[in-house]
């Protein structure tokens, strides 16, 4: 130990380094509070295309789909040749080099790239290439990809060469071989030896490289166990002792005891921990000691800390989440600090490294306390990693094949300059660059189909009737697109609206059964009001509570008891065999079983009638212990309702019933259940918000206040709150006993319309499930959807946001009757009443980041399921009530499971707003956060002129006019007619029945 009295600056710097590295960690909250966010949020200051590559380098992940996947898209027509041409044209517009020939008379860069993208041949790697070159005839026979004309030209050339060399008559095979061998030799001579020295960020990497032993194999299992035990929210029967004092302290208490664990690598640990504790070392002091002991040069500490934390990034990230957001802990907060975690990890690293080097004493010696490494160790540290001999051959091979394909005079390669220029050109368009171009082409095709559909639809579209019979406000969610369409199809006089699913009511909510209130509003909003659900009749509540509690206590003691020794043996040996019943039920009749057993699980007492306690008297500013006001003032409610009605352009009074429906999703066998809920409520269910909004809008005093502000809600209009379950397509209505008697027929009619729409919605959803019955009636598919949500064996209760790709902010009249395949967020907005664009700005500020968050999380979890997503659900194991691992001791898996994203199309969100491009440009420039997302290409933005059928796409830093490829659109009577039995993604279509009465 050299520095026992550290200076102040260094003390600060370790915490800063740790904080800095923390931003690279996954930002996923505990699973119950899952909120979608951009996986590469940290890289948003970079353009998307650079950021994904940078992320891939940092996390060893994939930035785009694989080249093989793109090749399939090309073959299947998902990407068309004109898309590739368009992408290259875009690139050429930015860089003049695209237009210059690479070789005299040869192709330009643009031509060569176009050729390469049309021939996505595989370049084998390493031994596979060596084998191919050594054993197959690739070097002596023209590639089978060479087209006929080119083949003939090359063969002719070869024979004339042969003639010149006086070898008349030799077989064409031999001539071909000589030509190709010459080409190969020229290219191979021209390649520059390409060696890259590797530096190690962590000592562990060096030990692994020089001894083949991975110290993480020793450290990680222990660290995982410790972290899980520290953060655990109630899985373990016995919790970690003394964890209140923090992770490092608890670790020292546990492992600083004499008679330490028998692990060889932990020898001396307990003495060291006792010493550190006795000397009162804090985490920073420990980290400094460890980094010095690992002899990481001080200049590299940032990299070492970053790499160390990233080595188990799921766990480190969760530790950081508990530190940053204690309020999001599932059960109770912990005194978690990432820096403590880092100190523990580095301490264990020191001992593991010491032990590993001890075992390989002959090669590298290392003593953490004092001395230098042996010369061998130092040599190992400096030695650059040899690239395998084949890695530069790969480039030569690629250039070799490409030279055969491209219209190039092969003799040019005799000049090393030309050969080198060609090789450089090939290297510049490496796999990453090709995948980027293919990705852009893939996105372009989607964009063209959607924009053409919108424009074509506008030409056939018919204006809906003036007086709607029913108005329905749903969440802007892409999953509600189909429900809205089916409402309009079942009832052409219905009018629908899309609004962020918290319906402008930012509140913390505590339901009758809830243990603690939870915020129900976008994550960026901090609620200031608490709304509580209370039983109308307190005695009913008492009976209900007692019964529920008894039921709960029994379930809890059975579940805990069955795992213990004595209670467990009594239970299993006596009544255990009765468990065969649920097993049979769950395996063979999941839906029926769920229905029969519900009373057993939830008790027989009916839930009492409740109301939301929503109003706070003027002047009552008492806050509860969390600093929340209990309910809203009438004036606040007036503001809230006013804002929503104005922003969504909903004019009340046009229909007797205005239905406000939030959404949520309930399912079994689904640790990620919360990820299927409503993003606008911060991952909660929007029912209470809808209920609260309806209660506000029905409030006489609120209506009075609104009238003063120019909105008149007549007597004959009633707002009704509801919840749509997107998994089983059921509707729950709130407070429908309050509906005035005169409106009861309208209420009945509304419920019937919704029931029909839900059944049809289930039918449309089921087309995407391979295991759903095909050609069945909507009723049957509704039962199927319900069965999926209740099935313990079902890893795909619903598709969630999978396939989301578009967000349209504009008047419903322009998208009504347009089949958008559940792929589009729909936000209601009327440009004609928004002269200053303030409303639009507010909407875009909300939907832009939220939509991008959802869309990009799906993007990344799809393109690299193992690296960004959490892989297959099947081996998942819930740990500590906050996350999932694969098996018993893996890194915490973040991101979305494969089953959730498998039908997704990884394209960036196409945000289409009804506004003139110049105004949108101005709007963006005044809002840097949004502008950054757009300018860096994290979302694609289109300005759709409110007055005309013109569109402008934001490309290369400006809005550029869009020219449609086609003006045709399929026209059908009903959605079901269009999707039929198809299981694939479908383009837009015009649905006539949404306008049936308008036509008549």
């Amino acid at each position: 130990m050299t520095s026992s009295t550290p200076s102040r600056e260094r003390r600060a710097s370790i915490a800063e380094l740790c904080e800095h590295a923390a931003h690279l960690l996954p930002q996923q909250a505990p699973l119950h509070a899952f909120v979608h966010h951009n996986t590469l949020h940290l890289f948003e200051h970079l353009p998307f295309e650079e950021a994904v590559v940078e992320g891939a380098r940092q996390f060893r992940t994939e930035p785009f789909q694989t080249e093989a996947a793109f090749a399939r898209h090309l073959a299947g027509g998902r990407i068309k040749p004109e898309d590739i041409d368009a992408v290259l044209a875009e690139d050429s517009a930015l860089d003049a080099a695209y237009g210059r020939p690479i070789l005299p008379g040869g192709p330009t860069r643009r031509q060569l790239r176009a050729l390469r993208l049309r021939h996505l041949f595989e370049v084998p790697r390493g031994p596979a290439l060596l084998w191919l070159l050594g054993e197959a005839d690739v070097r002596t026979r023209l590639s089978p990809l060479v087209e006929e004309g080119r083949r003939e030209a090359l063969l002719k050339r070869a024979s004339s060469d042969g003639a010149r060399e006086g070898r008349e008559g030799s077989a064409s095979k031999g001539r071909q071989a000589r030509l190709l061998e010459r080409l190969w030799a020229h290219l191979e001579q021209a390649r520059e030896p390409h060696r890259e020295a590797t530096s190690w960020a962590r000592r562990r990497d060096q030990v692994l490289a020089s001894t083949g032993f991975d110290t993480d194999e020793l450290v990680h299992p222990l660290l995982i166990r410790l972290t899980a035990a520290f953060l655990d929210q109630g899985v373990a029967y016995w919790s970690m002792p003394e964890r209140e004092a923090g992770f490092l302290s608890a670790f020292r208490r546990l492992y600083g005891r004499p008679f330490g664990p028998p692990d060889r690598f932990l020898r001396g640990l307990s003495e060291e921990l006792r010493r550190q504790e006795a000397e009162g070392w804090d985490a920073e002091r420990t980290i400094r000691w460890a980094l010095e002991a690992l002899r990481v040069p001080e200049g590299d500490w940032d990299k070492a800390i970053e790499a160390t934390l990233l080595s188990l990034r799921g766990w480190a990230g969760m530790m950081y989440q508990f530190e940053q957001r204690p309020d999001r802990a599932p059960v109770e907060a912990r005194s978690a600090r990432l820096i403590d975690y880092l100190a523990v990890e580095l301490t264990l690293d020191v001992f593991a490294t010491q032990s590993a080097l001890g075992d390989h004493g002959d090669e590298v010696a290392f003593d953490p306390q004092s001395g230098e490494g042996t010369p061998a160790a130092q040599a190992a540290a400096k030695r650059p990693r040899d690239l395998t001999p084949s890695s530069h051959l790969e480039l030569v091979y690629e250039a070799f094949v490409l030279a055969q394909l491209a219209p190039i005079d092969l003799d040019l390669f005799a000049d090393e300059r030309h050969a080198r220029a060609f090789l450089d050109e090939v290297r510049a368009f490496d796999e990453m660059a090709r995948r980027r171009a293919l990705h852009l082409a893939y996105e372009r095709r989607h964009r063209v189909v959607v924009l053409d559909g919108l424009l074509a639809h506008a030409r056939v579209s018919v204006t809906p009737p003036p007086k709607p019979e029913l108005q329905v406000v749903l969440c802007m969610d892409d999953r509600e697109e189909s429900l809205r369409r089916h409402i309009e199809e079942s009832c052409p006089t219905a009018e629908t609206f899309g609004y962020a699913g918290f319906f402008g009511v930012p509140m913390s909510y505590k339901g009758l059964d809830d243990v603690r209130p939870r915020p129900l509003c976008p994550v960026v909003v901090r609620p200031r009001h608490l709304v509580v659900e209370r039983a109308v009749d307190p005695s009913g509540q008492e009976a209900y509570r007692t019964a529920r509690r008894k039921q709960g206590a029994l379930t809890h003691s059975l579940s805990v008891g069955s795992k213990t020794l004595t209670r467990g043996s009594l239970m299993t040996a006596t009544l255990g065999f009765t468990s065969i019943m649920p097993l049979v039920g769950r395996a063979l009749f999941p839906r029926l079983w769920e229905r029969w057993s519900r009373p057993l699980r939830e008790g027989l007492v009916e839930r009492p009638k409740t109301r939301l306690q929503i109003e706070r008297a003027e002047g009552d500013d008492a806050v509860n212990e969390d600093g929340l006001l209990l309910g809203f003032l009438v004036s606040e409610m007036v503001n809230l309702v006013f804002t929503v009605l104005t922003n969504s352009a909903l004019s009340p009074g046009r229909s007797p019933i205005v239905l406000i429906a939030g959404h949520g999703s309930s399912s079994l066998n689904n640790p990620h259940e919360a990820a299927y809920d409503c993003g606008a409520t911060g991952g909660g269910r929007g029912g209470p918000n809808a209920r609260a909004f309806a209660a506000m809008a029905n409030h006489p005093a609120v209506r009075e206040g609104l009238r003063a502000r120019g909105i008149d809600i007549p007597e004959g209009t009633w707002f009704l709150g509801a919840l749509h379950d997107t998994a089983d397509d059921s509707m729950t209505y709130y407070d429908d006993d309050l509906v005035p008697e005169a409106l009861l027929p309208a209420l009945e009619r509304a419920k019937r319309v919704m029931a029909e729409a839900c059944a049809r919605n289930a039918h449309e959803r089921c087309r995407r499930f391979e295991s759903a019955p095909k050609g069945a009636s909507p009723r049957k598919t509704l039962a199927h959807a319900e069965g999926r949500a209740r099935d313990l064996a079902q890893p795909r209760p619903e598709c969630g946001h999978a396939t989301n790709a578009v967000c349209i902010v504009g008047r419903r009249a322009r998208t009504r009757g347009l089949f958008l395949d559940r792929r589009s967020f729909l936000v209601s907005y009327d440009p004609t009443t928004d002269a200053t664009n303030e409303v639009l700005a507010g909407l875009l500020m909300a939907v832009g980041p939220v939509g991008a968050g959802i869309n990009l999380e799906y993007y990344f979890s799809y393109v690299d399921s193992a690296g960004y997503g959490c892989g297959s659900k099947l081996p998942h194991n819930i740990v500590g009530l906050f996350g999932v691992m694969d098996g018993h001791a893996s890194d915490l898996r973040t991101g979305l499971p494969w089953q959730m994203v498998e039908i997704h199309e990884p394209v960036r969100l196409l945000l289409i707003a009804e506004i003139e491009p110049e105004r949108l440009e101005r709007l963006l420039s005044e809002r840097p956060a949004l502008d950054r997302l757009v300018r860096n290409g994290w979302i694609q933005v289109v300005a759709w002129s409110p007055e005309a059928d013109r569109m402008h796409v934001f490309q290369r830093g400006a809005f550029r006019p869009y020219t449609p490829e086609t003006t045709a659109i399929p026209i059908v009577d009903r959605s079901a007619e269009f999707y039929g039995d198809s299981i694939d993604h479908l383009g837009p279509a015009h649905i006539r029945s949404s306008f049936r009465e308008a036509l008549a």
Binding site: L31, H32, T211, G212, R225, G234, A236, Y237, W238, P241, E242, L254, Y255, R257, P262, D263, R264, F265, P330, V331, E332, D359, H360, D513, V515, R548, R549, Q551, G552, H556, K563, T564, L565, G568, S569, T572, A573, G576, S579, I580, R586, A587, G603, L668, N669, N670, L792, A793, P795, R796, S872, L874, P875, H876, N877, I878, V879, D886, G887, H888
Partner: protein, 459 residues
């Protein structure tokens, strides 16, 4: 029902699962991929029929008692030995066979949805039916020799299903770990078979004089032989049933798809060791030392399991240790001679535990609903431990539990580790010797014993 019909049913009970294996394996051999529906139909049909067969046999057996046996002749015969393929149905094996077939069938039905669209769907069902066939063979085998056959099938399928997600490294390592443990302990079974032949003259299962409905292995004449045999069979049972000190593979085994974890480690596979000991009950009766060893191992396992299980923070490990605890208790019951209790306990425990493992992915959902039912944070557990254990001991005990009794460290660093280090030293010497031999001689080219980059990668 005539006796010959019963024999035929007995044969069918083993043949049905094997027919499912063949029906899946033969198309796979010719690289023909059946649809998911066809695969689950085959498995459902085979195990469904097996359940009916077992029910018929159980009915017949309950009417007349005794045992049913069926012989398929000898596989091979040498001077003094014949490997006869005989099956025995009695009050022990028929209920067990019925229960196993039913569970495999149920898991088969369950997994149809669970593994839908999974790349390894076909492989899963092939291994599941092979496992089911192996279990039926172990359960109904009429001789120890035949037991070994089924026992190995169970071990192999178990290891392959742990390594189901073979694209990751850990499942494969853990599958290997289970396999090696099984193989090491199977030595007990092999030696026991040979010993039984030498000392008792045969290994065929015979009716036990005292117990009306249970058959068992023949008892060798001497008490010493009985003790040795008892201990050998115990060794075999300890591996399969994850008893102390071999149980470290059990939590690791939960890497496979959840349904396979449920049936192997919650229900059937983990109880097969207990079943073997039930079959060996006559021998244990004759060998009090071996019986005491069974009780001791069982008791140690139960304590270890309950203790370690309490510190586990992930639901599957907690269930694995809960499972280990109960199997330990079942061993105790067997050692003490409570055979019926043990049988009831096995069935009850298997049903409870496999349901729990199947439900484990819904833990968050269930926890949320439980909290809502109670309208409060769930009561804290483990208070009595804190009350009874002195404060100074608590961290020490907790660490013991968290580290899973240190069995892994002892195994890695002190049993296997010593061996590995010795081998590594020998390797170093060998390399030096090779270097010396291959040192460049005057005028000679450097001798390419090992290219330099390979040398670095070794060790």
């Amino acid at each position: 029902m005539s006796y010959s019909v019963q024999s035929a049913l007995l044969i069918a009970l083993v043949a049905l699962p094997f027919s499912a294996v063949l029906a899946l394996a033969i198309p796979a051999w010719f690289a023909r991929r059946a649809s998911e529906r066809a695969v689950t139909r085959v498995v459902g049909w085979a195990f469904g029929s097996a359940v009916i067969t077992a029910l018929l046999l159980a009915a017949a057996l309950s009417q007349r008692g005794g045992t049913i046996s069926a012989s398929l002749g000898d596989w091979f015969r040498v001077d003094h030995y014949a490997f006869s393929i005989t099956l025995v149905g009695d009050g022990l094996s028929i209920p067990f066979a019925l229960f196993s077939a039913a569970l495999v069938g149920l898991i088969g039905a369950f997994s149809r949805r669970y593994l839908h669209r999974e790349a390894g769907f076909y492989r899963f069902y092939l291994l599941l039916s092979l496992f089911g066939a192996g279990v039926e063979l172990v359960v109904l085998a009429g001789s120890l020799d035949l037991v070994i056959f089924g026992w190995e099938l169970v071990g192999l399928t178990s290891a392959l299903l742990i390594a189901f997600f073979s694209e990751r490294k850990k499942p494969v390592e853990h599958g290997l770990r289970a396999f090696v443990t099984y193989r090491a302990c199977d030595l007990g079974l092999l030696v026991a078979a040979v010993w039984l032949h030498f000392r008792a003259g045969e290994s065929t299962i015979i009716a036990v004089p005292g117990a009306r409905a249970f058959a068992g292995f023949p008892v060798p004449p001497g008490a010493f032989d009985a003790t040795v045999l008892g201990l050998l069979l115990l060794l075999a049972a300890m591996g399969k049933s994850a008893q102390v000190p071999f149980g470290g593979w059990l939590p690791r085994a939960l890497e496979g798809p959840t349904p396979s974890s449920a049936i192997f480690y919650g229900a059937i596979s983990v109880h097969l060791g207990a079943y073997l000991l039930l079959r060996a009950a006559p021998i244990l009766e004759r060998a009090p030392i071996a019986a005491a060893a069974v009780v001791l191992i069982g008791a140690l396992t139960a304590l270890h399991g309950t203790f370690v299980g309490r510190a586990q923070t992930d639901i599957k490990s907690a269930l694995a240790y809960a499972s280990m605890t109960q199997v330990g208790l079942i061993f105790v019951e067997i050692g003490l001679g409570f055979r019926y209790l043990a049988l009831v306990h096995i069935v009850g425990h298997a049903a409870v535990r496999s349901s729990q493992i199947l439900r484990s992915p819904s833990l968050l959902h269930d926890h949320h609903h439980l909290e809502r039912a109670m309208a409060e944070t769930l009561p804290r557990t483990g208070k009595h431990l804190e009350r009874w254990v002195p404060r100074a001991l608590q961290p020490w005990l907790y660490r013991h539990a968290l580290e899973r009794g240190y069995f892994d460290a002892i195994l890695r660093d002190h049993l296997i580790g010593g061996l590995v280090r010795t081998l590594r030293r020998i390797d170093t010497l060998d390399q030096r010797w090779a270097h010396w031999l291959s040192r460049p001689l005057d005028g000679a080219l450097e001798s390419p014993v090992l290219p330099p980059h390979q040398k670095e990668e070794r060790s």
